[in-house]
């Protein structure tokens, strides 16, 4: 006499009839949601990377702006350069040539700007050493020795960038949470429809002595597997779409950075298991809710 291990008996899973519209619906929902989730994840990663790049570039440099009468400009510049040379944490300092200043203003005023007629302040670009400098101390020294010089350490530029990046990350996280919630809601609907369609099956199973967990398991396994498979396809499609994004180079900003780099490509691989967990929880809750109404 042969007896199968009840936990491994495939007949336990077959007690629920196969297929039905809910099967396709779950596959489709999981696939679509995983596809969107990969993009939200990519957006989050890209925002993070871009903010880090901008922040790093801006935090490594500072500018000293010298506004003084033309007769004192060279003298003030020399003082500023000397102060900077003797300031710990300053790697180098250079006066930005007039032509370079013109290039900076060209996008706003055009190429024919008469720079020699304008009383432009002189700009000194300061490059920080890795240990950084004491900006408050430097400001005080400049105020004392070169009253027309103002230090701009780019804090006011950096802060909005960091805030924008944080908001982008929060938006991406919110998107992923919404995707997860929508997936759970739709899987719940599909599972409820399947449970309703199989009311007679559930009734018979209860009458022959099945416990709720046995009946729920038959539905939960099926929906979890469908969500896993659907999400795997959706994730693969999302990753493929990111790979196929055209390279817009550095000028593309966020657009060109939308994707993963190196080990970041492992992040989206977490999407299918997460979708399966969401489907598992949603189906289990739906199944037990329905079963409470069956004696």
């Amino acid at each position: 006499m042969s007896a199968r291990d009840p936990r491994r008996d495939p007949r336990a899973l077959r007690v629920v009839p196969p297929a039905g519209q809910s099967a396709w619906l779950t596959l489709l929902i999981a696939g679509a949601m995983a596809f969107l989730c990969v993009f939200a994840l990519a957006l989050s990663v890209a925002a993070d990377r871009l903010a880090a790049r901008w922040g790093e570039a801006l935090s490594r440099t500072a500018t000293v702006r010298i506004s003084a009468p033309a007769t004192q400009m060279d003298e003030q510049t020399a003082i500023v350069l000397e102060v900077l040379r003797t300031t710990p944490g300053v790697a180098s300092a250079r006066v930005i040539p007039v032509e370079e200043q013109g290039a900076l203003l060209e996008p706003w005023f055009g190429p024919d700007l008469p720079l020699d007629l304008l009383a432009l302040p002189r700009l000194v670009e300061v490059t920080e050493a890795p240990e950084g400098f004491d900006s408050m101390g430097l400001r005080l020294r400049l105020a004392a020795e070169a009253p027309g010089a103002v230090l701009d350490d780019h804090t006011r530029w950096r802060r909005p960038l960091v805030e924008a990046a944080a908001r982008l990350r929060a938006l991406a996280a919110l998107s992923m949470a919404l995707i997860g919630g929508a997936t759970a809601a739709m899987v719940t609907l599909a599972a409820s429809a399947s449970l309703a369609a199989n009311a007679q099956v559930i009734g018979v199973l209860r009458l022959v002595g099945a416990r709720d967990r046995f009946i729920a398991r038959a539905f939960v396994r099926r929906f979890t597997l469908r969500a896993l498979i659907g999400a795997a396809f959706g994730t693969a499609a999302g990753m493929g779409a990111l790979l196929a994004m055209p390279d817009a180079g550095e000028s593309g900003g966020l657009l060109s950075g939308l994707g993963f780099a190196g080990l970041e490509w492992l992040y989206p691989l977490a999407v299918p298991p997460l979708a399966a967990v969401v489907a598992w929880a949603a189906t289990r809750a739906a199944a037990f809710r329905v079963l409470r109404g069956v004696t």
């Binding site: 007896a3 009840p6 007949r11 007690v15 018979v204 022959v208 002595g209 099945a210 004696t295």
Partner: protein, 223 residues
């Protein structure tokens, strides 16, 4: 094993029966008769816990129905075999899997040879892979009996088990039930077939109960 004490039940406020007291003890054999609509099926449904009585109490294997909880009720049902009037199969499963369903659903090992032997016992050895909708009424009824006894239940409840059978098959099925009863299984059969009861009575010490006038009574000598 199953005890009903002053049980009353009805539908939509109308009482079907009241003050029903019944004990299905070890090795007992009961017939339940009465006109259509008298409440035979309802009484059976109370006996396997599908219904909760409006009044009175029902105990399964010493435990009050209301205190059992869902898992407790399921475990009690694993010790009760039921032959439903409409058989209640899962139409997408083979007959063999339907017969083994109480074991599968009860998460118990399925002894394949026992299932085959049981199907042969009820004369369905050639129908193992058939789907229930392809079977005749009599075959379905026999398969329902096989499913009811696959777990060697302590109590067997049968609702018109011979309703779709010819006389010869009815007698054969009854002899199977008597055989089970002799092995200690308590049997309760709801039927309106008085000939069947008369045929069975000489072979087994059976009590015949009748639902009449909303009461459960012991049937008299008219049988």
């Amino acid at each position: 094993m199953i005890e009903l004490e002053t049980v009353a039940h009805g539908y939509d406020g109308a009482e079907l029966f009241s003050d029903v007291t019944l004990q299905l003890g070890d090795g007992s054999f009961h017939f339940l008769t009465g006109p259509s609509g008298a409440g035979k099926t309802t009484l059976l449904r109370l006996c396997y816990g599908e219904l909760v009585p409006a009044r009175g109490s029902i105990r399964f294997f010493g435990q009050e129905r209301r205190d059992l909880g869902r898992d407790g009720l399921a475990l009690a049902r694993q010790r009760i075999g039921v032959v439903h009037q409409d058989c209640q199969f899962l139409d997408h499963l083979s007959l063999r899997d339907n017969v083994a369903l109480p074991l599968i659903a009860g998460e118990r090992p399925v002894p394949d040879q026992d299932v085959d032997d049981l199907m042969a016992w009820v004369g369905l050895e050639g129908h193992a892979q058939a789907l229930p909708p392809t079977l005749s009424g009599g075959e379905r009824q026999r398969a329902a009996l096989a499913r009811a006894v696959i777990t060697s239940p302590a109590v067997l409840l049968a609702d018109e088990p011979t309703g779709n059978l010819d006389w010869e098959m009815s007698v054969r099925l009854l002899s199977l039930l008597i055989e089970l009863n002799r092995m200690g299984t308590a049997v309760l059969i709801a039927t309106h077939d008085l000939n069947l009861i008369r045929t069975t009575k000489p072979q087994v010490s059976a009590r015949v109960l009748r639902i009449a006038g909303r009461k459960l009574q012991l049937a008299g000598a008219e049988l």
